[in-house]
């Protein structure tokens, strides 16, 4: 997995709540990434086996909206992401805030 700033931002957002299901719009909000950057990153993380994607179990007729797709880190992904971010942090100890994590939270 080639670590880039968008990848690190996505991993940081996912690691903030590793068990939570996150939708594309949530992740865009958490990372500040545009959709055109976010979705290729999500796709790349899925290919690497770090991320699982599932469809929301909702009846579109009842809910009045289509089912959304949510993402969650795999067990392997949690370990690998923590390690990758720790390595990145060790390389650039002062770069955290520049990556723009959620307000009041570390960037990763």
């Amino acid at each position: 997995m080639r670590m880039t700033i968008p990848v690190a931002k996505v991993l940081a957002a996912l690691l903030a709540e590793p068990d939570a299901a996150r939708y594309g719009l949530d992740l865009m909000k958490a990372t500040g990434l545009p959709s055109g950057t976010l979705y290729p990153v999500l796709h790349r993380l899925q290919d690497a086996g770090w991320l699982d994607a599932d469809w929301e179990e909702v009846d579109p007729a009842t809910a009045g909206r289509p089912a959304r797709r949510y993402y969650r880190l795999t067990a392997e992904g949690v370990t690998a992401a923590r390690q990758a971010l720790a390595e990145l942090r060790a390389l650039t100890p002062k770069a955290g805030p520049a990556l723009g994590g959620p307000a009041g939270a570390p960037a990763w």
Binding site: T4, T37, P66, R69
Partner: protein, 321 residues
Amino acid sequence: MVTRRVAEALLRAAARRWPVALRDDLRREWTAELHVLAEAGQRVRMLRFAASLATSRAAAPLVDRTVWRRQVRRTAAALLLAPPACVAIVAVALFAMATVHGALELRFGWAQRLQLPLFSMLCAGLGVLLAVVVARAARHAVRVGPPATAVGVGLAVAITVVPAEVALLDDARQLARVLPGVLVWLAGLTLALWAAATLARRGRLRLAWTVGVLAAFAAADVAVVATVVAAIPPIDPGQPVTELPPDGVDRISAPLWLLTCWTDWSFGFPRPTDWERFLITDLVLVEPNFYLACTPYALTWAIRTARAEPAAPATTAQAMA
């Protein structure tokens, strides 16, 4: 409304830049997110969401060429070998039916009535077994869109069944009576596969099976009706009564003709009569059972290859984000 249409058009353009295997899922996912923004009245965010996807670089998986070639070979093998397997199934079922009938006919009076149901059950059973094998092959198949899947299966069946009919019916007149019905079935089957694959790609698997089975049944039924109607005249009420029943078939029982071909039974209805059943099954004996042998594998292939999982591992392009 206009904003949403523009955003949806941008999403369609964005999806086209991704690999075929991912497009439907991505479009579905993005449309769902767009809906959330639309409900919140965030029109500018809708446009930004869609425009960013439409203008950014997509994550194109670089499929290993060796893997890809293996997939192509497996796909071609499955598509080209399954229809001859169906012909073999019909031949084996005919042989088994004849053997069983030969062993029973002198001892049991009902052995005669057993022939067609036994033939049909063997074709259906062996057809399902073939579908199980094909389902395994479908996991490693090249994934294409529903139209290409349906046409691919239809063409593969056509290049087997048409020469098989020509070989079986060396009489040109008989061939001209039967072949149009087979072509009707092929067209109907292709449409059925198209519908089933489209639904399966959208994740509606149960509906895909239901629609696929019903549409394939309708295609086979229409094919049998078309063949019989073109070849056997209707009953003429003014025809003089003779000792022999008229060489005609009353159209009122047309929807039952396919089932009659499979079961040699009229399901308690007055028509088709014994004589009409004889005329129908004399004209189309093998074809309805070929349809029965083919349909399970064809539907299985269309639905399994259309499902959301990627067919093979892929590695993502390094250039990203």
